[in-house]
């Protein structure tokens, strides 16, 4: 087996700091450290989920890969070639390969564009087809996402949330992309529709060999869909592992707290909830050392001073915690 296989997408030490402007003349008064050194890879046909609570920088990672804004530091490589430092003109052909599906199906479609034009836009942009060939491709894409072909000439407001998300998926597939970034793509949908869209995504992945970067806070969906999971906390990845390993034997205390919050559909099961104290600290002024030390049940002096690196902790897990073995029963308050 080829051990030095080039991943489809490689992200190295990605940082995005948003300047905070204040004062009379809009001076920079500080930075929001939205993403602060994130590294991961995605192979062809693989799903990597990025999970974490609101404001941890999940979506910023997605948008930074799409270069919807310039990144502060780090590298983004597509098939081993850097794309983060390309000029807008050089980047354009690369855009064909990485597409996006956003969270809100209502604002991610132009209300004045017909479905056909929405789906045809990327094809036309990259000059992939025209005339009747274009119509054929749009029709095929509509079949792929299981929308009726006669929906082509309608406007987005005539569709439900789930149908609109199918239109968005068709648009993302249109240029023959290799990687689709699903930025909370199913979070706004209700449960039954969510399941349909998730199944559609995994069918399309099998059929087309797509890689997915699945940004979500819904662990149940992630467990169902993904190959690997990256857990983010305050702009950093705290744990990166295979799905089965992560859900069965999480290493990082934050991952454990997160997993313990997932509801179990069985009223007889007594769950051991790990209740974290306090709120997420502000990304404008993140804590020193380990960013999780303000809320961690196992905090010790080293955590406050030294930032833990993402390292191998056995069983294919990578975790950013100073502890090699985290005790099983957490030192939780018995408030619950």
């Amino acid at each position: 087996m080829n051990t030095k296989k080039t991943p489809l997408l490689e992200v190295n030490g990605l940082k995005k700091h948003f300047p905070l402007k204040g004062g009379m003349f809009g001076q920079k008064t500080g930075y929001v450290y939205a993403v602060d050194g994130v590294s991961f890879t995605i192979d062809k046909g693989e799903t990597l989920s990025v999970v974490g609570e609101s404001g941890c920088g999940k979506s910023t990672v997605g948008k930074a890969i799409l270069r919807l804004f310039p990144i502060t530091d780090g590298e983004v490589l597509l098939d081993g070639a850097r794309i983060d430092n390309l000029s807008a003109a050089d980047l354009r052909p690369m855009r064909r390969r990485v597409q996006v599906v956003f969270q809100d199906p209502f604002s991610s479609l132009n209300p004045r564009q017909r479905v056909r034009d929405v789906i045809a836009e990327p094809i036309v942009n990259f000059g992939l087809a025209s005339g009747s060939e274009l119509d054929d491709r749009v029709a095929q894409l509509m079949d792929k996402v299981r929308l009726p072909r006669d929906a082509m000439h309608r406007f987005p407001h005539e569709f439900s949330g789930g149908q609109r998300q199918r239109i968005c998926i068709a648009r993302a597939l249109a240029p023959g992309s290799d990687l689709i970034i699903c930025d909370e793509a199913v979070s706004a949908l209700d449960v039954s529709v969510k399941a349909q869209i998730v199944n559609l995504l995994s069918d399309l992945q099998d059929e087309l060999g797509l890689a997915l970067l699945f940004i979500s806070h819904d662990l149940a969906i992630v467990e169902h869909l993904t190959h690997r999971v990256a857990v983010m906390y305050l702009g950093k990845i705290v744990e990166l592992a295979d799905r089965s390993t992560l859900f069965a034997t999480p290493h990082h205390p934050y991952t454990r707290a997160l997993l313990s919050a997932v509801p179990v559909p069985d009223p007889t099961v007594k769950r051991q909830r790990i209740i974290l104290k306090g709120d997420v600290p502000s990304p404008i002024n993140p804590p020193s050392g380990c960013r999780f030390h303000t809320r961690c049940p196992y905090v010790h002096d080293r955590c406050r001073n030294e930032e833990p690196q993402l390292r191998d902790v056995g069983m294919g897990r990578k975790s950013a915690c100073h502890l090699d073995v985290v005790p099983e029963v957490p030192a939780m308050s018995s408030a619950a």
Partner: protein, 303 residues
């Protein structure tokens, strides 16, 4: 009605829906429109009448509005002179009807020009960051001068004619439209569908023309109607104080200015052009209000 055949024995079926509900009143499309958008219908109808009067003025039993007849000056309204005659014996009825042309030309031209220019400035400002600061400071400066004063100042620089009036009022109105368009563009830029378009390789000009501009049309159209109304008033004001349309051309402002000296004894010279001006401005404003409610419900709540 075959419901009985489907009902199992011993059960009574509910009557068909059609039997319970009264038959729906068939209403004509026009009646439906008036019912749903009464202000658009009223404003549109009034404006259409004024527009027809302006276009067909020569056919509406008018005489030459500039013809002098000193012997028949300051006559009261009568069968021969419907609105009376002014101090130089000119027929006020003919002058008012021809005056409608000037008002409407000025109103529509200013609305169109100001919208187009404002859209251009607003899109540049919303899309080019470094230009935005410069444009916005210039616009702040222009907006700090009252529109009518700016128009008077511009008129003082040029020879009076209808074109210069249009230009002067347009310059005074452009900042408002630019501000509006800039705001809308800035909010649309952040919309996920624009981000998705960028991600799928759409170039900036296409993003502006396909994704941004079509979505700014509704607020611009609404704003244009209000600019039209305010331009008519400004034109009348400029003419009234003698800084607008030259006195040789009958405009509502001119007629009122000329009748001003006599208004205590011959009020009808001022009265008729004033009524026409009020009704026209009301019609345009009604139309604008209705369009705003119909096109942009969010704006309707705010204003």
């Amino acid at each position: 009605m075959s419901t009985t055949t489907l009902t199992p024995d011993g059960l009574t079926a509910a009557p068909d829906l059609a039997d319970i509900l009264p038959p729906r009143k068939a209403r004509g499309k026009i009646m439906m429109f008036i019912y749903r958008y009464p202000t658009i219908a009223a404003g549109g109808a009034m404006l259409s009448i004024i527009l027809a009067i302006a276009i067909f003025a020569p056919l509406l039993w008018t005489v030459d509005p500039t013809a002098l007849a000193p012997a028949k000056r300051t006559r009261f309204p009568s069968e021969q002179y419907w609105f009376g005659t002014d101090m130089l014996g000119r027929d006020v009825y003919s002058r008012v009807l021809y005056g409608a042309r000037i008002s409407l030309i000025v109103g529509f031209s200013v609305a169109t020009l100001a919208s187009v220019l404002g859209m251009l400035v607003g899109v540049c400002s919303g899309f080019i960051r470094w230009l935005d600061a410069i444009i916005m400071r210039v616009i702040d400066g222009m907006m700090s001068i009252p529109g009518i004063l700016l128009a008077i100042a511009l008129m003082a620089l040029t020879r009076a004619s209808v074109q210069t009036v249009v230009i002067a009022i347009t310059v005074a109105e452009v900042p408002r439209v630019s501000r509006l368009v800039r705001g809308v563009v800035l909010s649309l830029r952040e919309q996920p569908y624009v981000e998705a378009a960028i991600a799928s390789g759409t170039r900036v000009p296409k993003i502006i023309f396909k994704h941004i501009l079509p979505n700014t049309m509704a607020p611009i159209i609404v704003q244009a109607t209000f600019i039209c109304a305010s331009a008519m008033l400004t034109e009348a004001t400029l003419s009234f104080i003698g800084a607008g349309t030259p006195p040789t051309i009958p405009s509502w402002g001119n007629i009122m200015a000329e009748g001003r000296a006599l208004w205590q004894v011959k009020p009808y010279i001022v009265f008729f052009p004033a009524i026409f001006l009020s009704v026209t401005v009301l019609a345009v404003n009604l139309l604008g209000d209705g369009l705003r409610d119909a096109l942009d419900p969010r704006l309707a709540k705010k204003v």
